[in-house]
Symmetry: C2
Subunit: 325 residues, 2 copies
């Protein structure tokens, strides 16, 4: 609801209808990293309603264009499931686009609003140095960078910076001048050390679990590095400004899922983590049979870790609204 | 190859680049009823190369636009297979669109070329009358209209006319003025009776096989009617003119697959038929186990039917090129 409200506000205040209407008689929206639904449908419906409200608010309701929505994810995403779960009553034309959003996916100046929710923290790949036993950034005995050396962390940060730059360059080609890019990302507050991030600690706990349980060898843990990165507002702002193609219209760190005064629901937390990383683990270990056991044990073990501390619940979600210059 | 050549000619002679360029900086192509590939990729590549040649031929090679290709089929089509078999080196942006092409699939005036190959003979549904025991068009003991009564045939023809009109109305909204619709369809020559059509006789033979084999009851055969229709050039021209939104730029009946002087390859024929109707049979009978047996027996039996007669090999494919008025 927090994100929805922020998106509504940005579209109401920042979307320049006059400028966009001149480029096409259809309003094109892309949801990148859409997965299989239904979250993507809810998000897209909200964006469309916000755009329709904008047309109404400026007295142009009768000129509201038709909407075409592009759902994007990797070519290996289960698009069959996505399509068979499409809302039956929808007010837009559907298309879907397979491929990585770190490269070009759409024609020049063809998109008006791009929405990316919980997807840009996935790196395009594991940084090569952390897998290299001869590199100072070799990530021994861990599956993530949270409690690893600065070298490991820097390798992850460099990969993220490179990926974000590629992402912004591709979108700069595809988004019309005046069009919006709406990013919803996992994040950590400025000035908080990586070892204190909620998601990072959880991934570390998962790595320890895997070894404790004797399910995998130490060398398998060495070879496994989760290709995800948690940015901070300051870091993200720097990358956007460094890229130069977009202005930052709104940037806000918030806590959509957690309440400081309530205990963490570890079962729910485990479900989220499992949804995020199960695919990576199965691919790495080549079997899916052990996943129930892994996450069952993780759920028990994680309760003992200090992720319950209220400080980790602060500032876990970053909302960024960009406008194509 | 015959179809490819005809498409190249139509694009070279009939595509009005100047008119289309003013509507968008991207050239939009849709392949409707694309299935899972790879035929759709080959067809689309040919269309793109023909458009590129057109730009070159009029000295506008440097103004060749980017191409975005929309692959369409029913939402239950296996898009996962389609996406994982995309050509790695392709010169266009890919999108896919789920849904029936008998309704709207795309925004207003958003397409420049529509290609529909071996898809428009699939009716949107079985005509209701042929399933109605109280109707004079009840199709007793047959799974198709070829050797059925005139009432059955008329019900099929009316359904086809209605479907084609819906198809043309939807495309009339979606295709820009001057844009092309290229249809490749199964057909029967003008003046040839339906009982003499190759595909019809094959379907009739299949129906008799199903009963002969005792695999299904007579009432199951009564309830099964293949939702396909084979048109003729004259009939198709009449439907297009009656609709009124498109001009016929080219219409040609041809024989791409068969040679009059060679015997029919029944194994290949069975493979084609199976690809076309297996889904319908499985859906109807609720099991896929019997399909090997059904088509194995069909292959043996079909050889005895008179589909071998050379007259059935003439005029099986209709190419129609339409331009949006």
């Amino acid at each position: 609801m927090i994100v929805e409200t922020m998106i509504n506000e940005v579209i109401a205040e920042k979307l320049d209808i006059d400028k966009l209407s001149s480029t096409s008689n259809t309003f094109h929206i892309a949801d990148l990293g859409c997965s299989v639904g239904p979250n993507t449908y809810i998000a897209v419906q909200n964006v469309i309603e916000a755009v329709e409200s904008k047309y109404k608010s400026i007295g142009l309701a009768s000129e509201t264009p038709e909407f075409q929505v592009f759902f994007n994810d990797h070519a290996t995403n289960d698009f069959n499931t996505l399509f068979t779960s499409l809302p039956p009553e929808k007010s837009y034309f559907v298309a879907c686009v397979p491929g990585s959003f770190y490269g070009r996916l759409f024609p020049q100046s063809s998109l008006h609003i791009v929405h990316v929710s919980y997807a840009l923290h996935w790196l395009s790949k594991v940084p090569e140095e952390v897998l290299d036993i001869n590199s100072p950034a070799w990530n021994r005995g861990k599956i993530y960078y949270t409690s690893a050396s600065d070298e490991v962390f820097n390798a992850y940060a460099a990969q993220f910076a490179n990926d974000v730059n590629n992402f912004l360059n591709a979108r700069a080609e595809e988004v019309v001048s005046g069009g919006l890019v709406l990013l919803v990302m996992t994040a950590i507050p400025d000035g908080v050390h990586r070892s204190q991030s909620a998601s990072g600690m959880i991934y570390d706990a998962l790595g320890l679990c895997l070894m404790d349980m004797g399910l995998i060898s130490e060398s398998q843990v060495d070879a496994l590095n989760l290709p995800v990165y948690t940015t901070s507002p300051k870091e993200m702002a720097g990358l956007i400004q460094g890229n130069g193609h977009f202005s930052i219209e709104k940037m806000k760190l918030t806590d959509p899922l957690m309440r400081i005064d309530e205990p963490v629901d570890m079962q729910r937390c485990t479900t989220h983590i499992r949804a995020a990383v199960e695919g990576v683990l199965v691919k790495h270990f080549g079997c899916s049979e052990k996943m129930d056991e892994i996450f069952g044990r993780f759920n028990q073990k994680a309760a003992k870790y200090s992720v319950m501390d209220a400080s980790y619940k602060k500032g876990t979600l970053l909302f960024v609204a960009l406008k194509r210059k």
